[in-house]
């Protein structure tokens, strides 16, 4: 049973296009995240949702818009794709409360913008 799943796994598209990445978690977690990992493996948070409410919105171009239809899903829509958007995008979820900050990551979506 996959805990955090993302679709698609690979996405190759032309500059200027609009694309979406979907994320689903079946762990019953309240908080979900989107991260961007660049070619040097640097992992940077983009957004965080808690129970469908946006709680973190880092300095990300407004071409990126997250949407959480319910607490098990957090999708990422990207408008007017640019070359610099090429990266691996990871979705993650985290359980609420306690000391542990275990975040469970999805397998990633490798986006290539041509």
């Amino acid at each position: 049973d996959t805990a955090v799943s993302q679709t698609p796994k690979y996405l190759v598209t032309q500059m200027g296009n609009d694309k979406s990445i979907k994320c689903e978690q079946n762990l019953g977690h309240d908080t979900m995240y989107w991260y961007k990992q660049d070619s040097k493996k640097f992992l940077k948070i983009m957004f965080s949702y808690n129970n469908k409410e946006l709680i973190i919105n880092e300095t990300v171009p407004n071409r990126f818009s997250p949407k959480s239809p319910d607490k098990a899903h957090l999708n990422l829509h990207i408008n007017s794709l640019e070359l610099g958007d090429s990266a691996v995008y990871f979705c993650a979820s985290r359980s609420r409360g306690g000391h542990t900050d275990t975040q469970y990551f999805g397998p990633g979506t490798r986006l290539t913008v041509l």
Binding site: V4, T31, K40, K41, F42, L43, K44, I45, S48, N50, I55, I56, F90, A92, R94, H99, T100, D101, T102, Q103, Y104, F105, G106, P107, G108, R110
Partner: protein, 113 residues
């Protein structure tokens, strides 16, 4: 300067070696420290979790935190080829409902058979 700095690697060691991976940080508010392991083309997975200063051992892995020096380490004993991966340190503050993680840039480790 980044909040979290990690030895860049890549690091290549023979099987059975002791591996030391390190991170330094600048934000004294960080209280929770983690090490994630990321295999090629996979998502990161939590390996070790430590609160405040001290040591934590789990099998062949030992995590150390020295808050006075703002320095954390991960030691891998008797390293195996299956340990070949990128290791990312991560840390977070106590406050804030989001518990945002700040990651190091990762060290790529290869254990040669």
């Amino acid at each position: 300067q980044k909040e979290v700095e990690q030895d860049p690697g890549p690091l290549s060691v023979p099987e059975g070696a002791i591996v030391s991976l390190n991170c330094t940080y600048s934000n004294s508010a960080f209280q929770y420290f983690m090490w994630y392991r990321q295999y090629s083309r996979k998502g990161p997975e939590l390996l070790m979790y430590t609160y405040s200063s001290g040591n934590k051992e789990d099998g062949r892995f030992t995590a150390q935190v020295d808050k006075s020096s703002k320095y954390i380490s991960l030691f891998i004993r008797d390293s195996q080829p299956s340990d070949s991966a990128t290791y990312l340190c991560a840390m977070t503050q106590t406050s804030g409902s989001a518990r945002q993680l700040t990651f190091g840039s990762g060290t790529q480790l290869t254990v040669l058979p």
